[in-house]
């Protein structure tokens, strides 16, 4: 059976679609590149900061309700809790978080600080067993 002009067009159409979806994939990859610092209190996001946009290190105060507070020092390359009035002080002693997936938790204040995003290979994970 002989191929006709339209058949060729169908195959060209396929190539164009493949090209577009590969472009789409790359675009998706880029959008997950930026890292965000997410602060949640009691399951609700109270702060979402683009780490790449921070020029100089700064301290931010998070009110955790009932007079509880945690002070975070955030910089382009990570974040840490430097002060808090929680009874156990676990969050203050927690290591600085620098890569997507890491978290600092303050149980008494029901506070979670975590970094999201990042397109690094091996960084693309769903959860961490710890």
């Amino acid at each position: 059976m002989k191929l006709k002009i339209g058949d060729i067009l169908v195959y060209i159409f396929i190539l164009i679609l493949i090209g577009f979806s590969i472009l789409g994939l790359q675009w998706l990859g880029e959008t997950t590149e930026d890292r965000r610092l997410i602060v949640e209190v009691d399951g609700e996001i109270v702060k979402s900061i683009d780490l790449d946009e921070i020029e100089l290190p700064q301290d931010i105060r998070i009110e955790a309700g009932d007079g509880g507070y945690n002070i975070l020092r955030i910089a382009r390359d990570g974040a840490k809790v430097i002060e808090a009035n929680c009874p156990d002080q676990v969050c203050v002693r927690s290591a600085r978080i620098v890569v997507p997936g890491q978290t600092i938790v303050c149980l008494p204040h029901r506070l979670i600080i975590r970094i999201e995003g990042g397109g690094e290979d091996g960084g693309n994970i769903d959860s961490i067993a710890s």
Partner: protein
């Protein structure tokens, strides 16, 4: 012909509407069992109801098995140590029975009667301290899983000596994981990711059909700057890790380099030193995975791996203090290393 088409379309619409409904993502994180519990499930409206039911169940388990909550089964058992047997709920009984089985399997390395030592060191509090040898000796005499007596008929638990105490911290979270899995699966959930304070459970695959990618915690992430040492690609399993990094005395570690962490060796009465920084168990039952990961951490790589291979229902990863990663054969194809701080050994 029109009738046929019409009939088909009606049939199709009916079938679609009584089908599974639109699949959506429901996620929730709650604070319970002294940690964060994160749920991400995919399913229809039924699934959402099941999630609420699962969370209720977790809280119920906590109320029964926490050693610190007043009125919990465990608190009652501990109060009545040396006095009288205590009637407990069926699930508490099951978990204690399971824990004692592990005590036997590990020849006492996994021992829930560790409570007196946990209280002595008090690592989980804001004022932990290193007790002296005499104090440890005294409490060690109270640690023996064989002195827990179960009465199968009346569902009672009795600790033979006064001062004894049990702590289900190394297994209750695992049991909660199995219960959550059961409830979600019964409701028809085909895809879910659950993280119970570090115990990861995955149901099925991701909704797009790919495997779940679960990172294994880097035990020295503050030094390496990496959150995980590698990734396991899995479906339908539980992954549980234990290590010296979870809770330890930071001040002493910073001064002396010795980590006094929260997993005690019932033979020495001190935090376990088996040459491991961390270990991970991959299994289908979360209760088993939880108990085995503590056992492996206390036993160390050689003895621990031997036990796991004998049991034959779990796979394991061990990270030694020399920064070497070992794993059982079944995991080698699923594991993808991340970063270069650790050496993969065979």
């Amino acid at each position: 012909m029109k009738k046929i088409i019409g009939l088909c379309l009606i049939l199709a619409v009916i079938l679609m509407s009584c089908g599974p409904g639109k699949i959506e993502e429901y996620s929730k994180s709650i604070f319970a069992m002294d940690t964060i519990l994160e749920f991400r499930i995919y399913g229809n409206k039924n699934a959402k109801k099941a999630l609420d039911k699962a969370i209720e169940r977790v809280k119920e388990i906590e109320d029964r098995m926490s050693a610190t909550k007043e009125d919990s089964d465990v608190a009652k058992i501990n109060e009545n140590a040396g006095k009288q047997p205590v009637k407990v709920h069926d699930d508490t009984f099951y978990v204690i029975k399971k824990a004692l089985e592990y005590g036997k399997l590990t020849e006492g390395d996994f021992d829930i009667t560790i409570r007196p030592l946990v209280e002595l060191w008090d690592i989980l509090s804001d004022k932990p301290r290193i007790p002296d040898a005499e104090e440890i000796e005294e409490k060690l005499a109270l640690v023996d899983y064989r002195k827990v007596k179960l009465d199968e008929e009346n569902k009672t638990v009795f600790l033979e000596e006064e001062g004894m105490g049990i702590d289900l911290g190394a297994i209750a979270k695992g049991y909660a994981g199995d219960e959550v899995t059961r409830i979600l699966k019964e409701a028809g959930v085909k895809s879910a990711l659950i993280n119970l304070g570090g115990n990861v459970i995955v149901i099925g695959r991701k909704p797009d059909g790919s495997l779940w990618r679960i990172g294994i915690q880097d035990p020295r992430s503050e030094e390496t700057g990496k959150s995980h040492i590698g990734v396991l690609e899995v479906e339908d399993v539980t992954i549980v890790s234990s290590g010296d990094y979870e809770r330890y005395m930071v001040d002493i570690y910073e001064k002396t380099g010795v980590r006094y962490h929260h997993i005690f060796d019932p033979k020495t009465g001190s935090p376990a030193r088996s040459g491991l920084m961390a270990c991970t168990i991959v299994a289908s039952s979360s209760t088993d995975a939880d108990a085995l990961s503590t056992s492996l951490f206390i036993k160390g790589k050689d003895e621990g791996f031997k036990l796991i291979e004998e049991l034959g229902q779990a796979e394991a990863i061990a990270i030694t203090e020399d920064k070497e990663i070992y794993m059982t054969e079944g995991l080698e194809n699923m594991f993808e290393q991340y970063g270069e701080s650790y050496k993969l050994s065979h």
